[in-house]
């Protein structure tokens, strides 16, 4: 079986095949990026779900304890020893590489990264701002965070007000 697998902005082809006996599978992982071909990995693997969301994976002898939790969009957050990263699995025919980061061109939404309270809005709608300029202060857990403009532009929309409680992901400002 072939799957498209993405992690950290890299795309791979993951191929999994049954092995006689059923205790393990054979797998190969190849980069889908022609410009940066990763070394091909392959071998035999065994996977058991020890607890919900907790998987013991043996790649040949190497032991990995993988914890999966739901991430943003279609991704899964992975916790593996001291490492944290995101992955997603999908149909192989999704050829386009995933967007690495939002493009700097066009309108950009500044979103709340976590639930909190809007302490102060430092700009007005229509105001011109520069990259890195503080535009809004949000507070959570006794800490204030001054969020910066992601680009040079104009504040085209303010989606919240001072004193408001915002949910994670809520649009605070749009900068065009």
């Amino acid at each position: 079986m072939k799957l498209r697998a993405d992690s950290n902005g890299h795309s791979y082809l993951l191929e999994i095949d049954a092995v006689e006996g059923g205790k393990s599978v054979a797998y190969t992982l190849k980069s889908l990026e022609t410009e940066h071909p990763a070394d091909e990995l392959g071998g035999s693997a065994s996977v058991v779900e020890a607890m919900p969301g907790v998987f013991s994976v043996l790649l040949d002898h190497e032991s990995f304890l993988v914890r999966l939790s739901p991430g943003l969009d279609d991704t899964l957050d992975v916790s593996l020893g001291p490492r944290r990263f995101s992955i997603s699995l999908g149909d192989l025919r999704d050829h386009a590489p995933r967007k690495r980061a939002a493009s700097e061109a066009g309108p950009q939404e500044l979103r709340a990264q976590m639930p909190g309270k809007v302490v102060k809005i430092l700009v007005a709608a229509g105001e011109r701002v520069v990259l890195g300029q503080g535009v809004i202060i949000v507070e959570a857990m006794k800490m204030q965070n001054e969020m910066k403009s992601p680009k040079d532009g104009v504040v085209s929309h303010i989606g919240t007000s001072e004193g408001a409680t915002v949910a994670a992901g809520a649009t605070l400002l749009v900068i065009e």
Partner: protein, 501 residues
Amino acid sequence: MFRKVLIANRGEIAVRIVRALRELNIRSVAVFSDADRAALHVQMADEAVHIGAAPSRESYLAIDRILGAARCAGAEAIHPGYGFLSENAAFARACLDSGIKFIGPHWSSIEQMGSKTAARRVAIDAGAPIVPGTEQGIRDFDEARRIAAAIGYPVLLKAAAGGGGKGMRAVHAESELESAMRGASGEAEQAFGSGEVYLEKLVQRPRHIEVQVLGDEHGHLIHLGERECSIQRRHQKVVEESPSPLVAEHPEIRERIGEAALKIARKASYANAGTLEFLATDSGDFYFLEMNTRLQVEHPVTELVTGVDLVRWQIRIAAGERLTMRQEDVEWRGSAIECRLYAEDPFNNFFPSPGRIHHYVEPAGPGIRMDSGVYPGWTIPLEYDPLLAKLSVWASSRPEAIDRMRRAIYECQITGAITNLSLFARLLDDPAFQSGRLHTGFLDSFMPEFLAKRDEASPEAVTAAFLAAASREDLTPPEEGSGSGNRASAWQLAGRRGMMR
């Protein structure tokens, strides 16, 4: 001994105090705000009383509500933990007036030592070193030159009227003094409307070293050695250890700094647990900064190296018991380190990251102590500080303690909220940290290096994650010629049953 004690706090420290009370066969009474009905300290205490709304001032800081809860539950004493009302002299006094024992020093000690200037005067009276300098403005260059020569270069010129770095100049030699004075004075004039400046010894790359003291209410006072808390960010401690690597190198410092701490505490007629903070230099000089008249967050490292249970003693002392240890009975063994696990993202300017904790695994085994206020499934409230748990280790030497902490960090799993675990993993690997050459600016200078290199997972680790995800995804086979959206079950084809047995 008390039969029932109320804990005027929340989170890991409330849990710590519940444990101490249970070991003393004393019933514990937790208090909780609207945001904390499901919190761990409520679950673990014998009793729990609701005291108000989520904002601290309407619950954990509301003196009348806490005293009301204590009366209502019939508690004979209150342990304030740290933070909240723990250094509030009015609260300690209100407890006394209500006939409820405040587990801590007398309110007058809190009042006296809670003021930095009053505490500084106590230290001076006690003959303990404070950062040398003038507290009044300097009249002219001649006076400045005389004073600077007396306290020794480098010195710091500071605006008498202000703060925040304005009107401040470091002066490393007399030749720089005159021009620095002009600059500082001019800047101060502009910023604060007064050009008055004063002189202080410049402590370069200082270490933050503090001394734990413990005294009973019968006048017997001892110190339990030092903790080094130089790894901090915005004056927030992040990693603490005992012994200080500096003291490990120069053991005589412990006696000197301990004696200085005792002098100050004695002068303040201090009882119960308290901490005296000092700035120290690599050459072994130290200067009193301030006193914390309560239990410290980082008390476990002292408990681990001395074997003294500070919270148990706090309660026993408050009950009127005598401290049975003499100074010469205190022995230090091995090395202890504490990492404070915060729900904050070190890759995003340490912004708090509350959320619902999904996976939660505490490290265990030899030499590990976990003091936690959280559990899997719990949603971290927005209203309080982001300290989730304290992970402490003990080992027979500092290098072994570092090895053990790295192992513990490897085992520790918290998902659903972003934590600073990744910072510790890298910090413990840092050769400068390992060498013990610490100072209060250490973490700030480490951060660029930390941020520049975000750990990449190995290709094998990523593959393992892919295989784990593929084993549970309910992928349906793609239909011939159809678009995306239909997917194949890797595991159906690969023999899921066999793999999952």
